[in-house]
């Protein structure tokens, strides 16, 4: 099954990249705030049971895909 893992910096963590993009958008005259940049990871996980696939994707996040010091993830089984 296809799985989409969205990795975002935690709310309290400074995101200088997001800040720079926000300033860039301000430069074009867009009214925008709180721009945060994350990472989207797509996976193909064998199996048909969505709950089981999601649990395995969660294990992948815990092991490697996410650094819990600074990031959090949301997992979507498609």
């Amino acid at each position: 099954m296809k799985v989409r893992v969205s990795v975002q910096l935690k709310p309290g963590i400074l995101d200088p990249q997001g800040k720079a993009v926000e300033q860039g958008l301000h430069g074009f005259g867009f009214a925008v705030e709180h721009v945060r940049i994350g990472r989207l990871i797509e996976l193909e996980v064998p199996g048909t049971d969505a709950a089981d696939v999601k649990a395995r994707a969660q294990a992948m996040c815990d092991k490697l895909l996410v650094n819990p010091v600074m990031e959090k993830a949301s997992i979507e089984v498609l």
Partner: protein
């Protein structure tokens, strides 16, 4: 005294480490390819060098932390063996959970290469015993992700247990935001684990030990290591 220098694809300060430990100081220094599963017999110090291991893919140090050699580095650390991680080596130690915290993009968003001053916060470590608390030394930094970050509660714990080894400071040793090049919390440049045998730092002491290159600010750390490990050499 035997030093092992793990080499990952994308390491680019491994030769600085080999030159400092091997050529300048004269320790038995051995490069170890990341696919190896064992450190050389009798390794006293593991020096994880700087660079861009695995192209900084996913997060700096995240993939290197899973390399086969790292299991033996963990075993070495668990047995009380010394581990020094510099720059990307620090990032790898954090990702391998041998040290707490994470190194985020510099607050300025820029890669910074500059000389900085560090203040010794702990002088009772194998890495610092030849220095005194409050001593200031000058070393170069060269990184884009050196912005040390921890959850507030964990940061308080780290400070309370004296986990900070080095802090960025002025040439006179004053502490303050103005002297922190990368946004690191509390101006933290280097930390140690609870046991005090694993040290990670962003600045490069190994680049300033050869007098022919014009500066020897990093020598205090290597002199400390020589003292700490001397008894073992004569066993």
């Amino acid at each position: 005294m035997r030093v092992a220098v793990p080499v990952f694809p994308g390491s680019n300060c491994d030769h600085d480490a080999l030159h400092a430990c091997g050529t300048v100081i004269g320790w038995d220094t051995i490069p170890v390819w990341h696919q190896e599963t064992r450190l050389p017999e009798g390794t006293d110090l593991v020096f994880i060098p700087g660079g861009f291991s695995y192209g900084d893919y996913l997060r700096c140090g995240a993939i290197a932390a899973l390399a086969p050699i790292m299991a033996d580095v963990k075993r070495h650390a668990d047995n009380g063996g010394l581990v020094l991680g510099v720059c990307n080596g620090f990032q790898i130690l954090c990702e391998a959970q041998l040290l707490p915290g994470a190194l985020l993009r510099n607050a300025s968003l820029r890669f910074i290469h500059a000389d900085v001053h560090l203040r010794v916060e702990r002088a009772d470590l194998p890495f610092t015993a030849a220095m005194k608390a409050g001593d200031v030394f000058r070393v170069p930094i060269a990184h884009a992700e050196g912005n040390f970050t921890l959850e507030p509660a964990d940061l308080a714990d780290l400070e309370a247990r004296g986990g900070v080894a080095f802090r960025y400071c002025s040439p006179q040793g004053e502490i303050g935001e103005a002297f922190v090049p990368n946004g690191a919390m509390n101006g933290i440049a280097g930390i140690v684990n609870v046991r005090g045998n694993v040290l990670g730092m962003m600045p490069h002491p190994e680049r300033v030990v050869d007098p022919r290159l014009g500066a020897t600010g990093g020598m205090g750390i290597f002199r400390s290591l020589a003292t700490a490990l001397a008894p073992r050499s004569y066993e």
